[in-house]
Symmetry: C2
């Protein structure tokens, strides 16, 4: 089985990947098979592009992350970045480093995982590279488009804005805690939340189509870290109401069982891939209603002011400076 990859060969593998895809993206002019892919942008739009790498051992543990999940997760991280600009993803390029220990089925599963998620948003894998190395890694680049003049930027928050977040927080961390504490079999739903995050592409498009976007960022490293990015880049202060944090039921359950603080899961957990954004208060109310129509929870968790830094207000009304730690590679 393992030998099959060698037997199939590099070009055989590329041919296989090419056949596995369907050209559905309306803006893709040329997919896999030439020196570069070609695409067009819709009228009134500008392009956006992002790239993310997942490395075995650093970003995922092969004992808990199968190839399908890995593909899904790598795609999710990139789609979420495009969403966080208020954009529509158009196509993906995939650069894959294989060690030679993977089977053809492993590679098939990886692409199936990427396509299972990308396909929901009519995103094609339009190109890439496959190389050999001593360590498995996946680098995905996603190219998208944003309405001209309406990008959701980290620098877009304004004093007086309400600060909102989609979905619930801490679920991904709860899944990780379950894994780490060997309670895996007890709550499969949480694991799925950790392994298969849902990027908020539809939500971002709805927001960009309805409002002049202010500050916007996705929560990849943890709410606290992203709040600090937003505050620093926008040169505003942000005050968060601890009681307003939309803690996921799973985070509540797991944190309770392990005797930990569920708010910690929300603030420092990471990989929730929810949208953190700011809008004038009047728009914020409309945005909540708009998200409800999409079946997506949306919560006002605080507000921006003319100050600096990020503060967290507890139940007792006391406010403390919020540490900004997220995951650091170095």
């Amino acid at each position: 089985m393992r030998a099959c990859l060698r037997k199939l060969g590099e070009f055989g593998l590329i041919e296989r990947i090419k056949r596995g895809g369907r050209s559905r993206g309306r803006n893709i002019l040329l997919g896999i098979g030439d020196d570069a892919a070609a695409f067009r942008l819709s009228p009134g739009h500008v392009g956006s592009a992002t790239t993310d790498t997942l490395v075995e051992g650093t970003h995922f543990d092969p004992r808990y992350t199968g190839f399908h999940d890995l593909g899904w997760k790598a795609m999710a991280a990139n789609l979420s970045d495009i969403a966080a600009m208020g954009g529509r993803p158009l196509m993906a390029l995939v650069s894959l480093t294989l060690t030679g220990r993977q089977s053809v089925k492993d590679v098939d599963d990886l692409y199936r995982g990427m396509r299972a998620l990308a396909g929901r948003f009519a995103v094609d894998i339009a190109g890439g590279d496959i190389v050999r190395g001593r360590e498995l890694s996946v680098t995905i680049t996603v190219i998208g488009e944003c309405r001209k003049g309406n990008l959701g930027l980290r620098s877009g928050a304004r004093p007086g804005d309400a600060v909102l977040v989609t979905g619930t927080l801490g679920g991904s961390r709860a899944g990780l805690q379950l894994i780490n504490s060997k309670l895996i079999t007890k709550n499969a739903k949480l694991l799925i939340k950790h392994l298969r995050p849902e990027p908020r592409v539809r939500e971002a498009l709805a927001l960009a189509g309805s409002f002049r976007l202010h500050g916007m960022i996705d929560i990849s490293d943890g709410l606290a870290s992203e709040l600090h990015h937003l505050a620093r880049e926008s040169e505003v202060g942000i005050a968060i109401d601890r009681g307003a944090l939309p803690v996921s039921p799973e985070a509540l359950a797991v944190a309770g069982k392990l005797g930990q603080d569920p708010a910690g899961y929300c603030l420092y957990g990471g990989e929730d891939y929810e949208l953190l954004f700011t809008l004038p208060r009047r728009d914020a109310i409309k945005a909540k209603a708009l998200m409800r129509k999409l079946g997506t929870q949306c919560t006002v968790i605080g507000q921006a002011s003319a100050g600096r830094g990020v503060r967290l207000t507890g139940r007792n009304g006391r406010s403390v400076s919020l540490a900004g730690s997220g995951y650091r590679h170095f």
Copy 2:
């Protein structure tokens, strides 16, 4: 020195990279620092995108490839792919896997190497990712634009077309042979040719601006391999005149010294990053003159026909089927 990277930290490193760049690209709306980069396309153009990964040990030997050279080479491979579509490169995203053994100076040198080449074509590094792994690797994605309706495709060759190639061939392989045979000090120019290939961006733009492009591909894996891609995708036969191959003087010298066939360097050497393209014979003459104006050699090496496969005609007039081997990862 080595500890500095840890001291600088991930965000410090990103800040350093951000400061090191100059925003010159006229089509870049948003560079490093947000969830995604933003760009626009020129009127009458479509987008093109390509990605390439270089892994330590597989694609480069750290004993002979310094960080500046590595950056240059990784950028060259991607720019060459955009050129091979007849496109203008606009911006690059860089995903870097560091092991923690690299110093801040190493990373600075890497980015300097990438920028030294990219800057020639007003290409900015507009985003990316930096992660930790057990193996050094660089993945670059370049986004470019092509004139609408005038892409240089692998499938574009037509029976009767002349087959042309820019520059000379075999120089990169000659450099590699020098390295492998420990003759390094004797011919530094060759080494540079191997380590610092020159992607044919200006040449490709001139061709796209003057002609309706037919077949086009860049020579990354070796002429023989690329000829087979061209023939197969275009469903034509290609006949190459062995005597017409523009063997680089360096390839002649090194092959002579080592008692090898210089034509082998041209056909199977790889990494020359020249353009291989086809045009109707009338256009081919004009194309040669156009390339001469840019100071770039351009040679008709054969022609396409209604047949299939690739044949090589020797001095004796006998033609043999040309094996298509290029570098294979698996």
